[in-house]
């Protein structure tokens, strides 16, 4: 690690950056301040809260896994292959980042719903129904989360020195072997960063989930949905659930940054 530089920082930057930190910290402090600490434990151990948390974790991990499996090849295609219409394809695949999630959920419904474009055949031929199922939650989360992985990995793939892949080929490695042993390891930091971003997005997913998968406790009711629902009935419960979600996300982000992303950045700095 490089030591902190002991230069005087420009005052305007300090003031603006400090304001930003306060802006992010304040809502959290607000929740902590307003939290019903005396009976928080009973809310946490209530059946619904843990069920929602478990469902959230399972679904978001599935969505992250699917994003990796399909998103990395997609990023590779976008980064390495100059095919006609690449710009359109990239826009299409990252559209769900800018789309209101509710719109995404509705669109998914018309495509994969029981009467949807593809969904009717899934239903008829495979007896597979996605809407209002846990699988539907995973689909909705993957739909909004994968673009975060794709753009992160695509940028990294564009930056790596293609001559390492050339060197691999001349040593007798096929394209696929080269991809696994040279390309993937050299984008590891971006892979992890992209996966964390996608996971975080999936964990916080609300709009697409509620429109496409509904709000059934134990089946499709993830933490954000539980928080929203609780807000209408018992705000105290909503606050406790929100804090729990925040605590889990925060812990993962802090652990990831230091363990993986930091190491990646250090490696890169050394090889330059």
């Amino acid at each position: 690690m490089t030591g902190t530089t002991r230069v005087r920082l420009p005052i305007p930057i300090l003031v603006l950056a400090g304001t930003a930190i306060v802006f992010f910290a304040l809502p959290l402090v607000g929740l902590l301040w307003r939290a019903p600490w005396s009976h928080a434990w009973s809310f946490l151990t209530a059946d619904g809260a843990l069920t929602a948390l478990r469902l959230s974790l399972i679904c978001s991990l599935w969505a992250t896994g699917l994003s990796l499996v399909f998103g990395v090849p997609l990023a590779w295609l976008l980064a390495k292959v100059d095919f006609p219409g690449r710009g359109v394809v990239r826009a299409l695949c990252t559209l769900s980042m800018v789309l209101p999630p509710v719109v995404g959920g509705v669109a998914l419904f018309f495509a994969l719903g029981r009467r949807g474009l593809v969904g009717q055949y899934l239903d008829r031929w495979f007896d597979l129904r996605l809407p209002f199922t846990t699988a539907g939650v995973v689909v909705a989360q993957t739909f909004v989360a994968m673009p975060f992985l794709v753009i992160t990995v695509e940028a990294a793939l564009r930056q790596i020195d293609p001559r390492f892949e050339d060197a691999s080929r001349t040593l007798g490695a096929s394209r696929w072997y080269t991809f696994r042993r040279v390309t993937l390891p050299s984008i590891r930091p971006a892979l992890i960063a992209g996966a964390v971003l996608a996971w975080a997005r999936a964990l916080g997913e609300f709009g697409a989930t509620i429109t496409f998968a509904g709000n059934f406790p134990g089946r499709t009711q993830t933490m954000p949905l539980a928080v929203y629902l609780a807000l209408e009935t018992d705000p105290d419960e909503a606050i406790v659930l929100a804090l729990l979600l925040i605590a889990v996300s925060f812990a993962v982000l802090v652990a990831m940054r230091d363990r993986w992303l930091g190491a990646g950045v250090r490696n890169r700095a050394r090889s330059v």
């Binding site: 020195d161 001559r163 390492f164 050339d166 060197a167 691999s168 080929r169 001349t170 040593l171 007798g172 490695a173 096929s174 072997y177 042993r181 040279v182 390891p185 050299s186 590891r188 490696n267 050394r270 090889s271």
Partner: protein, 350 residues
């Protein structure tokens, strides 16, 4: 058991058309200025770039021939490459780097690691096997890169500027090591370089390319004795002109007439060593029959001698003593006569 290649391709504005043959055990240096197409030749031989015209055959097996649609992928060619900055995989250990090719070709982990350890031992780097390549010095990295390229037993070894990444201090030592390592390899070797010292120290034969064409080939002694390109002429520091000989007059492409001795008629090169050019304030009388009114362009000092660049009907470089410059009181912009004896001019057919 040879390499036979006719390499034709277009890169931007450069049309590359190079014919190359390498005999078994021969080390050929491909020499040329930056942008001449050297690296492209190497990439086509390795299969990293497809030919547009021509063909490549290694030991009689065609690996690239666009006319008949043959193209062997890089991994299917018996070719090893040592890249310019070695390109050791930073995420693998030194040992894993050397074992990489064997693993990629399907050897099991233990066998690959055992032969890699053996190769590392032979280049004296067994102690570094478990470390990352970033800890290696330039010379060590080069030895590892060579061991890695040779691990899979290629028939043709390509070396892309293997000494360019090193600083001048270590280059001599590494060049010596490289020569020893290359002698141990009995296959065909092609060394791409822009440094004639590398070619001189390592190669049996040089092929000089310029702007995508072979301009000269032969032993380095042949090539430098009778340069046929500006590039080689500049490397060895002679004035070179192309033109036509008629009787005892050589007319340069720039239109200047030079009186020469013993020249055979037809298209020819004329080479004039800078030391053969003398400078005078007044037009001299007597035996030298070549005198051109010139202007001093620049003066470059080389110890007790100086190189004087001249502008005139024949742009020349003259090498004279510093004392002579002082006597003549020469400064850039001065008018001066450049004089060369006919017998000092070497002509040979183009």
């Amino acid at each position: 058991m040879t390499l036979e290649a006719t390499i034709g391709t277009t890169i931007g504005s450069l049309d590359l058309d190079v014919r190359l043959e390498i005999q078994p055990g021969e080390l050929v240096a491909l020499l040329g200025p930056n942008g001449a197409g050297k690296s492209t030749v190497l990439r086509t031989l390795a299969g990293l770039q497809r030919l547009e015209r021509g063909s490549i055959a290694i030991d009689g097996v065609v690996v690239d021939d666009p006319d008949s649609g043959v193209f062997a992928e890089p991994e299917a060619r018996p070719v090893g490459v040592v890249f310019q900055d070695y390109l050791l995989f930073p995420q693998l250990t030194v040992l894993e780097n050397v074992a990489y090719g064997l693993r990629a070709r399907g050897a099991d982990r233990r066998t690959a690691r055992a032969s890699a350890a053996d190769l590392l031992e032979r280049v004296g780097l067994a102690a570094y096997g478990g470390q990352r390549p970033t800890v290696l010095s330039g010379g060590q990295a080069q030895r590892v890169a060579l061991a890695r390229a040779l691990a899979t037993g290629p028939r043709l070894l390509l070396l892309d500027e293997p000494l360019a990444a090193l600083d001048a201090g270590t280059r001599t030592q590494v060049r010596r090591d490289l020569r020893r390592s290359l002698e141990a390899f009995t296959g065909m070797r092609l060394l791409v370089t822009h440094d004639p010292v590398d070619a001189y120290a390592l190669a049996d034969r040089v092929v000089v390319i310029e702007a995508g064409r072979v301009v000269q080939s032969g032993t380095l002694a042949d090539v430098t004795a009778r340069p046929r390109s500006r590039y080689v002429a500049q490397l060895i520091g002679v004035n070179l002109f192309s033109g036509v000989v008629d009787g005892d007059i050589f007319t340069s492409a720039g239109g200047a007439s030079i009186v020469v001795a013993d020249a055979s008629p037809g298209e020819a090169f004329a080479a004039i060593r800078p030391q053969a050019v003398s400078l005078h304030r007044e037009r001299p009388h007597g035996s030298p029959r070549n005198a051109w009114a010139s202007t001093v362009d620049d003066i470059d000092s080389l110890g007790d001698r100086a190189r004087v660049g001249l502008d005139g009907p024949l742009p020349l470089i003259a090498e004279v003593t510093v004392a002579a410059i002082a006597d003549l009181e020469l400064r850039p912009g001065d008018a001066v006569w450049a004089v060369v004896k006919a017998t000092e001019i070497e002509t040979y057919p183009a």
